[in-house]
Symmetry: C2
DNA sequence: TGGTACTTACAGATCGTTCAGTAAGAGAGT
DNA sequence: ACTCTCTTACTGAACGATCTGTAAGTACCA
């Protein structure tokens, strides 16, 4: 039924940190591209919160003027929409992968958890922004709506794994799902790629703790 | 002058939703008390974010004027400080309880987890505000500092339980702790007291999933 | 010459906060 | 019972700063 998640609209944009001055491109003056503006904006949004971040701060960080930004985007909210689309495109893409659509439910669940962690790390600032939304404007509400649909797809996966006998039944299904999401989503609050913990190891750890908890394990077969 | 308001520490204040008109208290006019103003303010802060919430919105919700609020508090930041103090007082109180200080580490850990969930629910709006801080102002940074000290105390408990052999060692201690906190803290994003799930049951579920994960359990003795 | 990427200048609104003034009850004095 | 004074709890206007967004002009390059 409802799982019709929109496919990735376009290829993830390369975020170039430096303005391409003068010659290499094709055009006029300093030439910040949209991706740069967006990357700086999202970083600032995550530091101060979207509404508390002024276009003046963005301009300062870009080394340009407030109004120059309006050459690249039509509004502040436009920046937000662009950023949220990117996060959501990435997450929804996971659900379309073969590993998420074929095979036993518990294996599909493992695949989605692992890939969700990976996308979350790849698109860290964008997903961070998404996860901190309040839903005050229409843009925010529609992003939250897409996020809810994603969550719901994962919930159905957990339900399937439960029917299959792979998930505990002494805790309510909704509670299980929410606690699981809480654990995964918290990654944006502390994980920074490039440190001692690799993304791959992080994904392993998340799956291990999510499935088996923090207690010391007895004999446990890898299949369940 | 009115600076020395300092939240009545541990005793949870009654939040009266209605202004006490006329006679019972002292004198004057409508007489909103600090607790009412604070409750309304925190609710608004959680909905729109602290910085995005204007004094005008608070005044509107209180049915009064912006300037009237300044009779009760010295500044907008003062409201924030009061709210954060309340959340932190509650959480820190848990660490002082006998159940958190005496006995085997794994039992103390269980106690702290359960009580942390309970305080989190009791003081839901205040803790919610705390958990969404960015650390931009001095008030926010000092609150985050207190929160880090609380987290660190729990981390030490987990370490003790690990030394005792109750916690898995195949996942890094720091990662374990952060995933655990992520799970617990996420409660503020979805749990609302008064529903089908009681606070006590929620605490049970959190402990069950935190310790043993979402997988179907084999034989597992309640002690570990 | 024409498009690109701006800059300067500003409109209009809203922000947190201050301040002078005031309505109304409480207590004291008579 | 009556006034007088003091305290409480505001009201309403105004302040300077800052906010998003726009309009018009301009430097640069092909």
């Amino acid at each position: 039924m409802s799982g019709e998640v929109h496919a990735a609209h376009h290829v993830p944009q390369k975020v170039t940190q430096t303005p391409r001055r003068g010659g290499n491109g094709r055009t006029g003056r300093d030439a910040y591209d949209l991706a740069t503006v967006l990357a700086i904006a999202v970083a600032a949004f995550n530091e101060h919160g979207y509404e508390a971040t002024s276009m003046g701060i963005l301009a300062e960080r870009l080394g340009t003027s407030r109004s120059a930004i309006y050459y690249h985007v039509t509004s502040k909210e436009d920046l937000l929409r662009l950023a949220l689309d990117r996060a959501l495109d990435g997450l929804e893409g996971v659900l379309l992968e073969p590993g998420a659509t074929v095979g036993p439910a518990d294996q599909r669940l493992r695949h989605v958890l692992r890939r969700a962690v990976e996308v979350l790390v790849e698109e860290l600032p964008f997903v961070t922004l998404l996860l901190r939304l309040r839903g005050n404007t229409e843009v925010e509400r529609s992003a939250l709506d897409r996020r809810r649909r994603f969550d719901h797809a994962v919930t159905k996966l957990i339900d399937a794994a439960r029917d299959q006998g792979a998930v505990r039944t002494d805790v309510d299904a909704g509670t299980t799902t929410r606690l699981l999401f809480g654990m995964i989503n918290s990654i944006v609050d502390w994980y920074r790629p490039g440190g001692a913990l690799s993304t791959s190891q992080l994904a392993d750890d998340v799956i291990a703790v999510a499935l088996s908890g923090i207690s010391r394990q007895e004999i446990r077969r890898p299949g369940a």
